[in-house]
């Protein structure tokens, strides 16, 4: 569940995003210790700027350990216009082959193709809906820098993220450079790393080497990460108590069974059944209880999980809680339950095997 949620989150964003550092205001005259100068400073407005010598930055980033892909892009604000409709958008100008290694948009296409020839764009399905466009339709893009162009929609995707699906417009890097008047420039470099949880550390390394601002998905999604880790630990807690409850259930069933059968156990012991065989009988009973219970439970669980997945959906129709059921999961559950059954049977079985036959027969 945790892994799925992270996969879903990372499916629509790079692990690390590199940007130019913020522009900081600098006073014209520095204060010295002997003189006090009254001054007022304002935050600098942040312009869209290109990363200096970005091909070298990409080469450097790709050489870093743990980085598996790097993609240059121009990310800027703008509007998409079609007839009377006008939607705010985020324009991503990118190199298709490199970008696909960061986010495999082809897996998320719901119509058309991922083609970014001159004048082609691929947009989120929500945006397409808002503008009323389909594959092959044309729309006008206006950039925040004043550039505008008529483009053709070649594909429509759904990344499962409301904001992304409603604003993203993907176009070629060259096209975006023209729209934003940044010939040859890129504003962001997106990185993918092998170990998603090492992203923060790698981001700091990259920032240190390149002097750029590096944000990892972990900082961007700190809330999500905290939520997921809380969810994961509460899930672990619930699982633990379920296992404990199941173990107690099996143990108590067996203890009752030992008490009920104590006369029979006594007879078997008296006529020469070795105590280890009695032990085995009850251990096997515990194992069988666990096995049968988990087999039935797996079946019911699968049905309910699928039902839940189908009932709880995003507005876009994507299941909010994707459930992945596989043979390994069932195998693991059944093995765990059988093991728990065996372990919980240990105490009752020992009790049974140590039953004093004389007392058991007399009192049973």
């Amino acid at each position: 569940m945790l892994a799925q949620q992270i996969d879903k989150t990372l499916g629509s964003q790079p692990h690390i995003t590199l940007r130019v550092p913020r522009e900081e205001p600098r006073p014209l005259v520095a204060s010295a210790s002997t003189t006090a100068i009254a001054h007022s400073m304002q935050e600098s407005p942040q312009r869209l700027r290109s990363i200096d010598q970005w091909p070298r930055v990409i080469a450097a980033a790709e050489r870093m350990e743990g980085v598996t892909a790097a993609s240059p892009s121009i990310t800027g604000a703008g509007f998409a216009v079609r007839a009377d409709a006008k939607s705010p958008i985020v324009v991503h100008g990118l190199e298709p082959e490199r970008f696909l290694r960061i986010i495999d948009i082809r897996r998320h296409l719901i119509a058309g193709h991922f083609e970014l020839e001159a004048g082609d764009v691929v947009i989120g399905f929500k945006l397409a809906k808002d503008l009323g466009v389909g594959v092959g339709d044309k729309l006008r893009v206006e950039s925040s820098e004043g550039g505008d162009d008529l483009v053709t929609v070649r594909g429509i995707f759904s990344l499962g993220n409301e904001g992304v699906d409603a604003t993203w417009l993907l176009t070629s890097l060259r096209h975006a450079q023209a729209l934003y008047a940044l010939p040859g420039g890129v504003t962001t470099i997106e990185l993918k790393v092998a170990d998603v949880f090492a992203a923060e550390r790698i981001a700091r390394d990259v920032a240190g080497t390149t002097g750029l601002r590096a944000d990892s998905w972990m900082t961007v999604n700190a809330d999500l990460l905290a939520g997921l880790s809380a969810q994961s630990s509460s899930k672990g807690l619930i699982q633990f108590f379920v296992v404990v409850a199941a173990a107690l259930g099996i143990a108590s069933v067996l203890i009752v069974s030992v008490v009920q059968k104590s006369r029979e156990i006594g007879i078997l012991r008296a006529v020469g059944t070795p105590s280890r065989r009695i032990l085995l009988v009850f251990l096997i009973q515990g194992g069988v209880l666990g096995l049968a219970g988990s087999a039935v439970g797996s079946g019911l669980g699968a049905v309910f999980a699928k039902l839940f997945e189908n009932l709880v959906r995003d507005p876009s129709g994507v299941p909010r809680f994707p459930v992945q059921l596989g043979l390994p999961l069932f195998g693991f559950s059944v093995a765990l339950a059988t093991g728990v059954g065996l372990v919980s049977a240990v105490i009752p079985a020992r009790r049974a095997s140590r039953l004093d036959p004389a007392t058991a027969i007399r009192n049973g």
């Binding site: 007879i267 070795p274 004093d356």
Partner: protein, 231 residues
């Protein structure tokens, strides 16, 4: 009888219960039982009969003293060896029928073999069928024991005690059944096997009529042998 070595020798058996206030159930019992004897063990309630029977049956250990069964001293045997001896040397007929209700008469009779080996062999099955024939249950052997009458159940119990030809059969109030006709029948069967097969039997009883039918009567009072008569 060629082999006249005693089946059972008990020497100075003492059994105490309790850790703080110790009560003596048996207070130095000596007893020798020869092969083929049908011996009754009588005595008032609380005289230690059942305790003694459990000790002889290796279901309980004496606090001190020795129990020699079939020529083998059982004092230093561990639990596993005692279990093996129970399976091979002893046969039990309990106060109540004490059959396993989920099984048929035949399966109950095969229990000692099952417990000892895990699964009965063909010979054991044949022996169980033979003994059920001998107790007159040939046509009932595949009935579940819950579908048998009380007398029939007790005959199954006798068959089970005898199927492996034990050196010594221990019977605890085998006729402790208010039904006189069936208690006579049970005793008659024990007597029959004792005569025909030379089975050594030690029977704990309250019933004076049964004691009268035995070869020898041992009376236990306050944990000691008070009298020991051959008849």
């Amino acid at each position: 009888m060629v082999d006249r070595a005693p089946v059972l020798v008990i020497e100075g058996v003492v059994k105490e219960y309790g850790d703080v206030a110790r009560t003596r159930a048996l207070n130095g019992v000596d007893l020798v039982v020869g092969p083929g004897e049908l011996t009754a063990l009588i005595g008032p309630s609380g005289s230690g009969k059942s305790t003694l029977l459990n000790i002889i049956g290796l279901l309980d250990r004496p606090t001190s003293g020795r129990v020699v069964l079939g020529g083998k001293d059982t004092t230093d045997l561990d639990e596993r060896e005692l279990t093996t001896m129970r399976a091979h040397v002893l046969g039990f007929i309990f106060q109540f029928h004490n059959l396993l209700s989920a099984f048929t008469a035949l399966e109950n009779v095969m229990l000692p073999a099952w417990g000892d080996r895990g699964a009965p062999t063909r010979e054991m099955r044949a022996a169980a069928e033979d003994i059920l024939h001998a107790v007159g249950l040939a046509d009932r052997m595949h009935y579940r024991v819950t579908n048998l009458s009380g007398g029939q159940q007790q005959r199954v119990a006798i068959a089970r005690a005898l199927v492996h030809r034990p050196a010594l059969v221990l019977a605890d109030e085998p006729t402790g059944n208010p039904d006189t006709a069936s208690s006579d029948e049970v005793f008659a069967l024990m007597r029959k096997f004792n005569r025909e097969l030379g089975t050594t039997v030690l029977v704990v009883t309250h019933d004076s009529r049964i004691a009268d039918g035995c070869d020898r009567v041992v009376e236990l009072v306050d944990g000691r042998v008070r009298s020991d008569h051959a008849r």
